[in-house]
């Protein structure tokens, strides 16, 4: 418990220290603080007894600060949360390392914002009370907004405002869902209001299906903004495009994961019937996202936006796999969270390192960088391959599991992994793999291989760097001959992610062992429901959807032939 509290408090102390020291010392203080947090997270990981049990630990109530509001200060997490905590603790120092030379103005504020964010994220991953989770979830917005708005690129202000409004409205909608559940529990049982996750999960599952439908729509609708799902995704490419490198790394690696984590932890268990009923709707949105965003990536020349759009497609696949409601799919979706955090963060770091040297992210302007920065190119190709799901790297494991989960999740199939969705969905999602290969290879071909293209003197630097952006500093004018390959510090920032990618890729067994019990827990309520539906075909909607999913592949095959 002490360690769990420390994980939340230490970054806060670090942030305050950062604001207090001199401008020059801020980066060192920030890095040291984040390393201390990493040490605390490592200690917690060693102390964590629930790696393979799927239970929550320490799950103890700390300060009784907000009990009058029904909010327990109860901390605890399971293996999935633990993985995300470690991911966060690793990504924050890495993203700080990569900004040492990129951020030259208002450094105190910059490093402090990252530590504020780390604290909030840790709280969100550790909370066993929805309001406590909400505090962390919502508070990430303030530092994130400031990071994009102050240290971002040229269009940083509209991007930051869009980020703020979308995320705020989304999270308030989730909050309404939580409050509705908690208030229902309070009035039904005649007890004072209680926001404990355990209570709400137990209560939510007893509600009639029609109520659960609304509850799921509200909670998941809010998280859908953060994941993001398609009609509400437009803030993400903007935010990524304008955020400083470290901001993109943390946004892609950690913050949007809170959305998926929230879906897994709250939306799915609190309203299983609602989730089943709405699964086709969300699955369709996810598919539109996967395919649509992959196509968008194909024509995107701004590398950073390309990665941002691809990340919408990837998160769509991860969520789609979760909506399959079987163990394999859930496992794949959870592992995808971690893997996407590693590989996308790595790609954003590479792009940031390049941007620092050329002040452009346009593939038409800059390309063939293999000849100028060979080591950098190795990292870039590596992370691109990881996100492309090259066998042997981490992306492959999760993508394979996701597709398998989606494919086998056919109510009629006797695979031992019952679920909804089915081969049609798997087929469409797999199309995205091909598209993914297309756009990633196109990017690599233009950007890394091919003839060397560099911005001409004086142009690239100013047009894209933006003289009013404090984040960009100008040595763009006499850049071309002074371009250096990645230095030791930058390798140090990227290496942990690359190593993790390889380890998970070649030896996924341990991490899968850890995830499996959690995935099994997550699908447990659904297994019961699906079995009930299979046993009682009279439920008209289930019957219809079952016939639909079996009939659809035939139609698809016909169309292909």
């Amino acid at each position: 418990m002490t360690l769990a509290v420390l994980l939340i408090v230490l970054p806060l102390i670090g942030a305050v220290l950062c604001l207090g020291v001199s401008e020059r010392a801020a980066k060192t203080v920030g890095l040291i603080a984040s390393l201390v947090v990493l040490a605390a997270a490592t200690l917690l990981a060693f102390e964590f007894p629930a790696w393979t049990t799927g239970t929550f630990w320490p799950n103890e109530e700390g300060w009784k600060l907000f009990t009058a509001f029904g909010v327990e200060f109860r901390l605890g997490t399971d293996a999935v949360g633990m993985l995300l905590i470690i991911l966060t603790a690793v990504l924050i120092p890495c993203s700080m390392l990569v900004s040492f030379s990129a951020i030259t103005q208002r450094q105190r504020g910059f490093y402090a914002q990252f530590l504020f964010m780390e604290s909030a994220v840790m709280l969100a991953f550790l909370a066993r009370d929805v309001i406590l989770f909400y505090i962390g979830y919502e508070f990430t917005l303030v530092p994130l907004f400031l990071i994009v708005a102050i240290w971002g690129g040229q269009d940083r202000r509209p991007a930051a405002i869009k980020l703020w409004v979308y995320s705020f409205v989304g999270s308030v909608i989730s909050l309404v869902g939580f409050i509705y559940l908690a208030a229902g529990h309070a009035t039904d049982t005649g007890t004072p209001i209680n926001f404990s996750v355990q209570t709400l999960v137990e209560y939510g599952q007893t509600l009639p299906a029609s109520t659960q439908w609304w509850v799921f729509l509200a909670i998941m609708g809010g998280f859908a903004v953060k994941v993001p799902f398609v009609p509400v995704h437009s803030w993400l490419p903007l935010a990524h495009g304008e955020a400083p490198t470290a901001g993109s790394v943390v946004l892609a690696g950690v913050v949007i994961k809170i959305g998926q984590y929230g879906a897994l932890r709250f939306a799915f268990p609190m309203a299983p019937e609602g989730a089943l009923a709405l699964a086709p709707f969300f699955a369709a949105l996810a598919l539109i996202g996967i395919l649509g965003m992959s196509l968008v990536c194909w024509v995107q020349n701004d590398v950073k936006r390309l990665v941002a759009y691809s990340s919408i497609a990837h998160m769509g696949l991860a969520l789609l796999a979760m909506f399959a409601f079987n163990v394999v799919g859930m496992e794949g979706g959870i592992l995808y969270m971690v893997n996407h955090g590693l590989s996308t963060a790595g790609m954003f770091m590479c792009i940031g390192i390049m941007y620092e040297r050329y002040h452009t992210k346009d593939m038409e302007v800059v390309g063939g960088l293999m000849q100028r920065m060979p080591v950098w190119s190795v990292f870039m190709v590596f992370f691109a391959m990881a996100s492309l799901a090259l066998p042997g790297l981490n992306g492959f494991v999760s993508e394979f599991l996701c597709l398998m989960g989606i494919y086998t999740a056919d109510a009629g199939m006797k695979t031992g992994f019952p679920g909804i969705l089915g081969p049609t969905y798997a087929f469409l999602a797999a199309l995205a793999l091909i598209l993914g290969a297309l756009y990633v290879l196109r990017m690599l071909q233009k950007f890394v291989f091919g003839p060397l293209r560099e911005p001409s003197h004086g142009h690239g630097g100013h047009a894209h760097g933006g003289h009013d952006s404090p984040g960009a500093h100008g040595h763009g004018n006499h850049a071309a001959h002074a371009i250096q390959d990645v230095n030791f510090r930058e390798i140090l920032a990227m290496a942990p992610l690359a190593i993790a990618c390889i380890v998970i890729g070649v030896w996924p067994k341990p991490i899968l062992n850890v995830i499996e019990p959690c995935a099994a827990n997550a699908v447990a309520p659904y297994v019961k429901l699906i079995e009930r539906d299979l046993a009682n075909p009279p439920r008209a909607t289930a019957d219809e959807s079952a016939t639909k999913t079996t009939a659809a592949p035939a139609a698809d095959k016909g169309a292909i032939q």
Partner: protein
């Protein structure tokens, strides 16, 4: 008259005991007014501090005299409401006094100090200014003692009248005169509406005593429903109160008046009249419905009207705020929207909603003072800062003020874990628990809209770089407005640690004794 009421009216001793805090405050107000006319500059400079000391003394006196036994003996409809409201008005009132130090008489005092002008009692207004602040607070506190409509009305007016004067004298500009005239005439109209409503209520029940009125309504409800005269009276009273809340349909004056008033006065009139309005509303609605166990509720017509007022108020307030370029006008619309939120608590009823509204009054008061106080703590070329553009890059010119402004705005947005979030959470829960789902959703969407415009108060000082226009922006000479804004911004961060206690106090304040009194009266009759 029933014996119980006779007993109540003759039993004045406990009542006088309980108004000891207000008596202290009144003495402080008189002292302020007198000291403001002193020839000695040092004495005149002491006036705000007399006000502060008076408020602290009031607070201490209240803690001494306001015991549950004393409140029950005085037969107040809501025995502990006064304790909460007096504490709230004292604490936030001290902040308001600090925020206004140096805002009046600055030119005159400078002339006197430099010897270019002689002291002229007619030209200085400092004494009146602080005396009126204290009198208005005193009126707000007296509202909680009301056991009949006459007392309620007199306290209501004592709270209102000084605010009109404050608007007029606070700034010494033509616009403040215009604002004061507007405020005064509309205020007079709203008071007339309120009084007409009271007359109808008297006509419908034949009594001015709140507890007797409640009995009469309960009897009417059992025999064919509450009469239309009473409903009309109640509606008229609600409309009159809406002016004080700056709620639709009486909201339109707020932006003009706030803009015309000086920033400290605008801060004052965006808070104290709201306390006044909500206390009156709570006391008044307690007579037509609402029992301690929450089984009876207010008549459907009144509930429907309040529902519409709440929805329209928060929606129009937020949309209006979106369109503003003036910080004060924006905050005026924001205060309209916040009234809408608080009405949700009123609609949710006594068991879950009233304490939520009372708690929100506190969270709003603290965050609002941090925000408005920050505006009061800076000036541009010696004039009040008004446009949002003046706040660009404020962190360079006045970092502490910028921080206070941002924290206040974030708290008003409801960003957790700041104080404002807990107020909002409580209102959300109240509306969900009272099955006001539509209201819950509308309120949530509204706070999404609000997040957009409050963001300007964070982004302008911290994200924007200073512009040539903001060259002249500097903190005001007096350090106290800055300190007041900072203290209350710190309150937004620190008070959540005492959220349990605050919520407990609010819940205690929301407890009503009307039923108990009614049963006592019935048993006495038997």
């Amino acid at each position: 008259m029933t014996p119980a009421i006779l007993a109540a009216s003759t039993n004045l001793g406990p009542k006088f005991m309980l108004i000891a805090p207000e008596a202290v405050l009144f003495a402080g107000a008189v002292l302020c007014a007198v000291m403001g006319l002193s020839h000695a500059r040092a004495f005149r400079a002491m006036v705000p501090w007399i006000a502060v000391v008076a408020l602290i003394a009031t607070f201490v006196t209240m803690l001494k005299v306001w015991t549950p036994e004393a409140a029950t003996a005085a037969q107040l409809p809501m025995p502990m409401l006064g304790k909460y409201i007096i504490a709230l008005l004292c604490v936030v009132g001290v902040g308001h006094v600090l925020a206004s130090i140096g805002s009046v008489d600055r030119a005159v005092e400078r002339q006197v100090a430099s010897g270019t002008g002689a002291f002229d009692p007619v030209r200085v207004i400092q004494g009146e200014f602080y005396a009126f602040i204290l009198l208005s607070l005193c009126g707000g506190m007296l509202l909680c003692h009301a056991t009949d409509l006459v007392w309620l009305f007199l306290a209501f007016e004592l709270c209102s009248l000084p605010t009109y004067v404050l608007v007029a004298i606070g700034r010494g500009a033509d616009r403040s005169m215009e604002a004061a005239i507007k405020y005064f005439f509309l205020g007079a109209m709203s008071t007339a509406t309120l009084l007409l409503g009271f007359a109808f209520l008297y006509g419908a029940t034949g009594t001015l005593e709140l507890s007797a009125m409640r009995e009469s309504f309960q009897m009417q409800a059992q025999t064919g429903g509450i009469g239309s005269v009473a409903i009309v009276g109640m509606l008229l009273a609600v409309i009159g109160i809406c002016f004080k809340l700056a709620a639709v349909p009486m909201h339109f004056y707020a932006p003009d008046v706030y803009e015309g008033a000086s920033s400290p006065v605008a801060a004052f009139i965006s808070f104290v009249p709201k306390v006044q309005g909500f206390v009156t509303l709570i006391v008044l609605l307690g007579t037509v419905g609402w029992s301690a166990n929450g089984d009876s509720s207010i008549p459907p017509v009144i509930a429907a009207v309040l529902w519409m007022i709440a929805v329209l108020t928060m929606t129009l307030g937020n949309i209006g705020a979106l369109l503003q370029r003036s910080a004060k006008r924006m905050l005026a619309y924001s205060s309209i929207a916040n009234s809408g939120y608080m009405l949700v608590g009123i609609l949710a009823g006594p068991t879950v909603g009233i304490d939520a509204t009372l708690l929100y009054l506190l969270t709003y008061g603290v965050a609002n003072l941090a925000t408005f106080g920050s505006l009061a703590a800076i000036e541009r070329n010696g004039h009040e800062v008004d446009s949002i553009d003046d706040l660009a890059g404020l962190r360079v010119r006045a970092p502490m003020v910028a921080a206070a402004l941002a924290i206040g705005a974030l708290s008003l947005t409801g960003i957790p874990p700041l104080l404002g979030f807990w107020g909002k959470l409580d209102l959300f829960v109240a509306s969900a628990e009272s099955h006001q789902r539509t209201l819950l959703v509308i309120m949530a969407l509204n706070s999404g809209v609000a997040a957009f415009y409050y963001l300007r108060l964070v982004a302008m000082p911290f994200v924007q770089e200073p512009t040539p226009r903001t060259q002249g922006v500097s903190p005001v000479p007096s350090v106290w407005p800055r300190l007041s804004a900072l203290i209350f911004a710190a309150g937004c961060i620190a008070l959540p640690f005492f959220a349990n206690q605050l919520k407990g106090e609010a819940a205690a304040a929301a407890r009503t004794d009307l039923d108990k009194q009614a049963t006592v009266a019935q048993s006495v009759e038997k």
